[in-house]
Symmetry: C4
Subunit: 277 residues, 4 copies
């Protein structure tokens, strides 16, 4: 899928074009290698964040994980700068979804120098895991993702109506249980009773709150059987949509100007900013 760009495209110098090809695309060998390295880096850096939160590991390997964190932060910073430079319209990229995710992947570590020890900053770094999605195209799984996405979009409105009915049900059922069981049996307020109704209807069933009276258990049994039966509704909706949706042919190309995706395989210009692909 080699593409020639004409000299007319004056907003991009040659090295920008090459860098864009490597960083944003997955069609060339260099682009593929870059993506593989990126996935490994992301997984390792997220793993480091996770392990650092385990107190026994933190006690032993705290300084090593600190070094790992800075290593990947600097790596991702370099990558972020190159992304900004190689894209034709850096601002458009910077405010795009992945642009913000890329920034959030590096910012917390720098901020931790100013505000030391903030738990919030630590957790934001976990969002790096979202960056894997941009590399997903590498492994040719993009067709399957589009297929699922399309079926879900087609059934979104129907599932919204279903969830709306479920919400009404759990509000009424939860309030009823608050009345029947009362505060002595753990149903201390209507919101907590609604929480219990959701736990029961979705068949999760923690057991942290459970009905004690006979009437409460009878109503709970009703909610369970209801939840067990109506799960058929979203399943039926999505299954029908899946059987309708046709698998699509989608290119993995990314616009060199605005880094937008989703271009058809026969597209010559970006459908969002009009620049040549």
């Amino acid at each position: 899928m080699s593409r020639k760009r004409t000299a007319k495209n004056t907003s991009q110098s040659h090295w920008q074009e090459v860098t864009h090809e490597v960083i944003f695309e997955a069609d060339t060998p260099a682009g593929k290698w870059f993506d593989v390295l990126l996935i490994i880096s992301i997984v390792l850096s997220v793993l480091a964040v996770m392990l650092d939160s385990v107190s026994s590991i933190h006690a032993k390997y705290s300084s090593f994980l600190y070094a790992v964190e800075w290593f990947f932060t600097i790596l991702f910073t370099i990558e972020y700068i190159f992304r900004l430079l190689s894209v034709g319209r850096p601002l458009l990229y910077a405010v795009s979804f992945f642009g913000i995710v890329d920034l959030l992947a590096i910012l917390p570590t720098y901020l931790s120098l100013l505000i030391p020890g903030s738990r919030y900053l630590i957790v934001i770094r976990v969002l790096r895991v979202l960056r894997i999605f941009r590399v997903l195209k590498l492994v040719k799984y993009v067709h399957e993702a589009k297929y699922i996405k399309q079926a879900l979009q087609a059934s979104l409105r129907k599932i919204t109506v279903f969830l709306f009915a479920v919400m009404t049900l759990v509000i009424i059922m939860g309030s009823l249980m608050y009345l029947i069981e009362g505060e002595v049996n753990g149903f201390t307020s209507i919101p907590k009773s609604i929480y219990w109704a959701i736990v029961t209807l979705t068949t999760v069933g923690y057991g942290d709150i459970s009905p004690k009276t006979g009437l409460g258990q009878a109503l709970a049994a009703l909610i369970m059987i209801l939840g067990y039966s109506i799960i058929a509704v979203p399943t039926g909706i999505v299954t029908v949509e899946f059987s309708r949706v046709q698998e699509l042919k989608i290119s993995t190309r990314v616009c060199p100007e605005c880094s937008a995706e989703d271009h058809d395989s026969d597209a010559t210009f970006c459908k969002y900013c009009g620049s040549k692909l």
Copy 2:
């Protein structure tokens, strides 16, 4: 979707017609704005009821929530009176499902002046959440709702047979567990054992009662695998019905006389009371 009503329709004066258009319909801008305001009022008033049940919030904001409650009650009372006045046949509306829900939304607050502090009155007010369903048509989700409703109605009898078989199963399984585990392990009576069987078959699994003996755990494992497998039955039934049902074109019009809904888009007269739409 503007409609002209002829002067023949003598049972309604002009202001009644306009009020009906605004309150009951969603086709005009005024009608849409009314629906949006109504949804916000319903959500806020239900939220107030919920929050008031949380003891820590009740301790602090009790008097504020009391004021909020009376504000919405008076608002809904005015709305209820206008609904009664604008409808051609007020009695038919008053005894309809939504007529009763509208009354239940305001009655408890007035009754609480006579019978102070009753928990039952507080909870009835949560039923206001049902009023949202009448506004559902606003957001054009009515087609999806009809689609789900139709598929569920078509599969109702089959699911009834399925639930009947499930009930027989849990009665027999529950009784068996009562025999095997006995009162020392928490299976204190047959109804409680049936409750446990439902909790297990629907894969909720609170864990408030769980088998202790080897034989009981083996039977429990059997019930779990059964419940895990037979969930395929309602799902299969509903999925097949969903694939059969065609999406329908349904008007959002409401009869000005009896406030009945579900009129076909080409209907000129109400199919329930015969008055002109």
Copy 3:
């Protein structure tokens, strides 16, 4: 659906025929009334057995429930005798599935005179609930039941293979968890660990046994995701079968000789014993 029986059918006298029509069939008004009364009797007698097992109710109403039990036992005994008399081949009925269930519905109460207080006898009486299935035909739900039955039979072999794979999985996973978690964390033996694996895979999740070590929790997470995903298999199998199966036209007639069911609506002779229907 009135049927004339010719005088040739000499094995049955006229009153036998009439009694058979009333007790076994649901086509005549008398037959329908009999079925309605039977359902009410069954439900009430099963309810009495259930309530008697609740110690607080037993303490208060023990003698009343004892009288109720004997009332229904005598009623069902009379019914059983009439069934035996009105059927052409009583022995064939007596050893049939429903013949045995009918006997089990009355035997325990008589036996309790000889062996007082046996819990086992009490529970056998719950099996009366199975008798409702013979009356199911009354309410015209028999088509739906056949429909579900046929789809399940068609998918039986595939689901057996699926359950076999699931059993292998839980045996290996359970043994692994026994190794990882060990007796200190509640996984006291391999059978108990397999029980836990079933509780987890079927997403029941009691929480009476749950992994404590990191490795155990990782494996448990794997089993959960597996169980969450493979539930698609029985669902998919049954859904496909449901879409294949056509709804059938089935008569509710019962053979006057051997009380067999499942006769096609155009059948003139019993397909099991050859006697005229």
Copy 4:
């Protein structure tokens, strides 16, 4: 389905051929009897391993179960030797999946003489249960297994994408809950919080860790409803694949040289090693 092998197949003597027919195939009466005996032996030996892990049974029947273990080990050893001898290329068989499983079924017992009392060796013996799969063909359920396998393979990539999205979701949700609930409420580390998110999303719901704060319970309710809804995705995918897959005609033949399976019913030569079937 009798097959004649020509004299050209010189790599096998007559007794090898007969032994191969009995041990590896299920077409002859002798082969069927061998398979039935093998299944019984496997089930009994796995049961013995399981029961031995129950401390109360171990205390009483330890020496009996030890004898049983050695009986089956010697039996399986003889079988293993005959398999090696009757196969044309023993090495190919020895390193195949079932070759390794067959070896693992006997090795632990011999090793336990050198390293007494190792729990790891005990559990490896449970893997014998996998040997049942090779006998599965006996009962003609092989078509159903292929059918399920094919549908799962066709949906593998889509389900991988789905599980990948689920993993990202639980990582982010788990980290959020770690932030919200914190260590005092049982969410001691990010990995543990992710474990909780999986327990909740898959609707298992042990209840060993459960949110205590209002915000945490609200987020938990969101995860539950999400998990309850998105189970529709794998179900929809697999159902669509099931409806596509046609049931296949597959032979139960096994290559006499390399013991490979999956040969088409019209195949004359092994598709893996080229030897005559």
